[in-house]
Symmetry: C2
Subunit: 365 residues, 2 copies
């Protein structure tokens, strides 16, 4: 059976413009072990690209169209920083980091976003991302104990949305409906995505993201290209654009705890990497990374959308690239995370699939 392209009843699917993010030849990248048995596996695609668009390594199809979702918040944030909005409102690195984040809704995240909105004369109710209970269990429970409902400030995308609002005010446009495709803020975001990835998002299949902004489908290698350029431009470009790239990478590196949250992959990996690798998850099994100073970026899409597998693939690729220390126990626990059960017993693990692990050994020598 091969991927078909017919139209299910719910959807205006157009095979002429839409390349599904599934492919007959997606290799198995991650095994799911339970005791001595491989209970399942995850297939996907990964690519390492340099700032000139050259493919340094790839698994699966580097040209596959994927929706990078939240994994390219760093590119979306160019609208906030390069426009001068961040500077004119005196945003701190922590606030820029929150604009790049899919945070866990902890107090350190939600309260900073609320304070930021207050400073630009707006309120949490101006966020159009929707309310979401904190992803961080203890923070969600603490909120339940107060009796207060979750708000849009707890939404994992609230920092990005605070950035959109800040940009709108700086541009002098009505911030209302800033999530819409036709709003000037989204047009500016598309302009930056186009410039960095060489692909005009407006020409590509489009959906709506979890936080209601447009979600564009881009070839996986172009997603990585955009992120590799973020690093290259931060080194080479002395214009406002280059400064914006530097500011974004610096904020990303300075605040691993704000980009995701307690216990989560991006926070744990970046804490261990100490600035040598910057990672960012996107929904439905996407993970992206910039390798600062090396003009390289990585983009991963797990076919089935599993975050647990995208994390393993990313940790394994970054280990092979030498961007993280493969012998660091913190990194090893991300490349091969243990599965524990309700009694806290180790009952299994995720691990790079044998052929993928083998291919990584020689990939970057």
């Amino acid at each position: 059976m091969s991927p078909g392209r017919s139209e299910p009843s719910h959807s205006p699917y157009d095979p002429a413009t839409s390349d599904p993010a599934i492919s007959g030849d997606a290799p198995c990248l991650v095994d799911v072990w339970r005791g001595p048995f491989i209970e399942g596996g995850h297939r996907g695609h990964a690519v390492v690209v340099d700032a000139d668009g050259r493919i340094v390594a790839h698994w699966g199809d580097p040209d596959l169209s994927v929706m990078p979702r939240s994994a390219i918040k760093s590119l979306q944030a160019l609208a906030l920083v390069e426009s001068g909005a961040a500077g004119s409102f005196g945003l701190a690195d922590a606030e820029i980091a929150l604009a790049l984040a899919s945070h866990s809704g902890e107090v350190q995240h939600a309260s900073r976003v609320a304070a930021w909105l207050d400073r630009i004369g707006l309120a949490v109710d101006d966020l159009e991302c929707g309310a979401q209970a904190p992803m961080h269990r203890d923070s969600a429970d603490a909120l339940v104990r107060t009796g207060a409902p979750a708000t849009p400030a707890h939404n994992n995308c609230s920092g990005k949305h605070a950035g959109f609002l800040t940009t709108a005010i700086h541009l002098g446009v009505d911030p209302k409906s800033y999530i819409g495709f036709d709003h000037p803020v989204q047009a500016l975001v598309r302009e930056h995505l186009h410039g960095m990835t060489d692909i005009d998002p407006a020409s590509r299949p489009r959906g709506i993201d979890g936080c209601s902004i447009p979600a564009h489908a881009l070839p996986l290698r172009n997603v990585a290209l955009g992120l590799a350029r973020l690093d290259a431009h931060s080194q080479d470009d002395q214009s406002a654009h280059g400064q914006a790239c530097r500011r974004i990478l610096a904020a990303w590196a300075a605040h691993p705890e704000l980009i995701a949250g307690t216990g989560r992959f991006d926070t744990r990996l970046m804490t261990a990497a100490k600035g040598r690798a910057l990672t960012k998850a996107g929904a439905e099994g996407v993970s992206c990374a910039v390798i600062p100073g090396r003009r390289l970026a990585v983009a991963v899409k797990i076919e089935d959308g599993a975050e647990r597998a995208a994390s393993v693939v990313m940790a394994a690729v970054l280990s092979a690239l030498g961007a993280v220390d493969r012998d660091d126990p913190a990194i090893r626990s991300l490349v091969g995370p243990t599965i524990t059960n309700w009694n806290g017993l180790s009952v299994g693990a995720l691990a790079p699939h044998a052929a993928f692990a083998d291919s990584l050994r020689g990939a970057f020598q």
Copy 2:
């Protein structure tokens, strides 16, 4: 890249006895749509088997070894019912249903299990499944508000474990360590699994389940065979075994709300099916069904472990079998569940993959 069989560092993997539950030819069964774009997909295996072991239909590899996990609680419950334990303690159908359940830890579930344990002279602390916060969000929040911690009674497997304890007492053995492979209760469970599936679980790769009992790997078709026999024996067999099969199927059919919980697939499907199909999820993308009165069963394994995809496949196969009404809006919403975002917008859907949907049309005519 094809599935490899080498041994990662963490695991005593033995390729001579272990058949990994991943396969090069797993077909795509479910698409993940976002707007007009297929954002991802789920591959897997499914088989429909009759009580004589004949394959009525299959997708992927019907001989694939899988760990059925909680999807065969109905077969494990033969130890409780056929031994006479259920009868001697006067268990109600609701309690038998809880023994088959992976429940959501709602009050209707946890309080019934606690009362059952009390009646057999034991307590929640005698459960060896580990504590788990209720899966049902509102129930978990309600518990947080009381300030009390989650207990083993909230564990989704607490009913099965209450059944194991009841069986141990009935057999006159020490219930302590009833979760162990060597305990007489687990030996009795294996005996029933062997009889129903034609496979001795002790001869197969073995892990530890989420609730700490042994998890055995069995060929997918044999899992379905065991469940088809549950139906056939309930019709043909007047012995204690046939009576036990009848009791289990009756309890399963009578209590959709206890088998899973509010809003969950098994509860929603069985409520709509009105006894014409009995379903049960297992962890890591397993779903099984019995078609009462038709000597048929279905077993599904999604390669990547996604429950959302196993549910779609099961609903689609049961629709094609005529075991549920495909025009019932409740069923349609299970075959093609909508994806909504934080603002409650419909932004996508899961749907049977085109080639899988096509193959279902003629499969059972």
